[in-house]
Symmetry: C2
Subunit: 318 residues, 2 copies
């Protein structure tokens, strides 16, 4: 297939590019680098099956020739309010990527008769009142909350995708991506895993907010990519959760990080911040298992070991 990936220079987009090239496809990458990095695709520069357009997909999309599939991964995704590339600091661009970008992709998918895959997110469930989250849970998102710029952009993108499927019969699919980690992730992403792994690799005590009883589920990027590619190759149209359902407390996680990295600096407890992050989010992956025969395979220890070299390089601690 000839596959367009928007956000191809991002964490997930670049791994997807690698995987789809490996599967024998031709990949057209697109990115405007407002959050993605040329570093993430530098290794593809000589690949004759990879081409790249620097472009803001919220403005317009033009790709010469036939396109068989479009994967829309362009969007700021970091919840870190201090990160310049987080969605709190790019609210309008985030909403445009979800609405105008998705609209442009769907228009192209329609005229090209291409399969469309939307990168949605567990954030559409907001601060969930149901655990674990199944795909039919409507979520708990305040549309005028500060976090809504990302959540509502993705909810809108899902609705628009289904509208193109139902009304224009476009061959669409929607993946709801849960917490993912691995090489090429943004170290300033603001989420628990990069924060703690960074501290461990710098030999610092790990900062745990409150009592550390809040939980997280972490999926290694290769597992996530497996799930996404399976969905792309399927004929499923309704949303599918892809993530690792193994839930652990932040405290358990911090202890595991210290053990895996051999960090002896221990843990520092500080007051819980104002509750910006959901206390708990965990995918129900029954649909993914039934429809795609997918389940995650990389355990936390293995995933962290594979991620460490990238972090060390970024931190200059190799």
């Amino acid at each position: 297939m000839r596959i367009l990936i928007t956000g191809a220079a991002g964490f997930l987009g670049s791994h997807l590019s690698d995987r789809l090239l490996k599967d024998g496809h031709e990949v057209i990458g697109m990115d405007n680098f407002i959050t993605g990095s040329p570093d993430n695709i530098a290794h593809l520069a000589g690949n004759e099956n990879f081409s790249f357009f620097r472009r803001d997909v919220s403005n317009y999309i033009f790709v010469p020739g036939k396109v068989d599939a479009i994967l829309h991964f362009a969007s700021p995704a970091s919840p870190n309010p201090l990160s310049k590339s987080g969605y709190f600091n790019l609210p309008i661009q985030t909403m445009k990527a979800g609405a105008l970008g998705t609209h442009n992709c769907l228009g192209l998918a329609r005229v090209q008769n291409a399969r469309f895959l939307l990168a949605s997110t567990s954030e559409i469930y907001g601060d969930p009142e149901v655990h674990p989250q199944t795909e039919d849970y409507a979520g708990n998102v305040d549309p005028v909350g500060t976090r809504a710029v990302y959540d509502e952009a993705k909810r809108f993108a899902e609705s628009l995708t289904m509208a193109y499927h139902r009304f224009h019969n476009v061959n669409t699919s929607i993946v709801r991506i849960f917490n993912t980690y691995g090489p090429r992730m943004d170290l300033e992403d603001g989420r628990a895993l990069p924060n703690l792994l960074k501290q461990a690799l710098l030999g610092q005590p790990l900062t745990v907010y409150g009592d550390g009883a809040q939980t997280r589920s972490f999926c290694y990027v290769d597992d996530l990519v497996d799930g996404i590619v399976s969905l792309l190759y399927s004929d499923e149209h309704m949303p599918v959760n892809i993530g690792n359902p193994i839930e652990m407390t932040i405290l358990q996680f911090a202890e595991a990080i210290n053990r895996i990295t051999g960090n002896k600096a221990g843990i520092t407890y500080v007051d819980a911040r104002s509750a910006r992050d959901p206390q708990r989010r965990q995918p129900d992956i029954t649909r993914a298992h039934e429809i795609l025969k997918w389940e995650p395979k990389v355990d936390l220890e293995e995933g962290i070991r594979r991620t460490i070299p990238f972090f060390k390089e970024k931190l200059g601690t190799v």
Copy 2:
């Protein structure tokens, strides 16, 4: 003020135009007539303070000269799946009006330093699990449900509005409009009030689905317009519910309609349709009362009496 109203040829947009002209403002109407009607603004043709542009606000907005306020009312709004102008049959246009249309309006409000007022809706609460609905209720909307094209478009529009307020300091406001009726409403709107009033005026028995215990709250259009104009003149930025909190069962309502119209044909009970409509929705108007000193004044009997002549004219039963 010089005020732009998108959707000016619609039910609410045309009443707002009338009211704002009466208040001494200059009104620029805009509409593409996909759901609005030239009939609704025909009486303004000779008014030197009213001008009109036929335009799709999802494409672009250009207005010569200074604009002091922008009211974004353009959107399909009828939930009737059989209506050609309902959002089930205009899903993409509905989502574009909410996303691209709102984006265009906010861009204009930003450069013009104008007050922006978004017409949002009780539909952002979806099928609510909280009664009555306060503005901080996050709602219960399935983003991939068929009804989501309208609900998510408006949720997105709210988030984008708040993003422009918080990030670009645009002077924004959001009204969440509940069930409204009055002259110029769409008789094929598909909701209970026009359906039952039409039957009564044609001397037919009123169709009540199920046992008629499902409830509705109906606001007369003049009350709604009062609330919207008060919000426009205020400096409030957070969403405000405007609607009539008096709740009645569909059965009580049908009996009232038969009494007011003198219809002797009674009531016919039929099996409840598949639950396309929420069973119950009722505004909590505490915020509107506190912030705007607003409350509805027109009771149902008076409102229906004022609405009957328009219905009779449309039905050709004058």
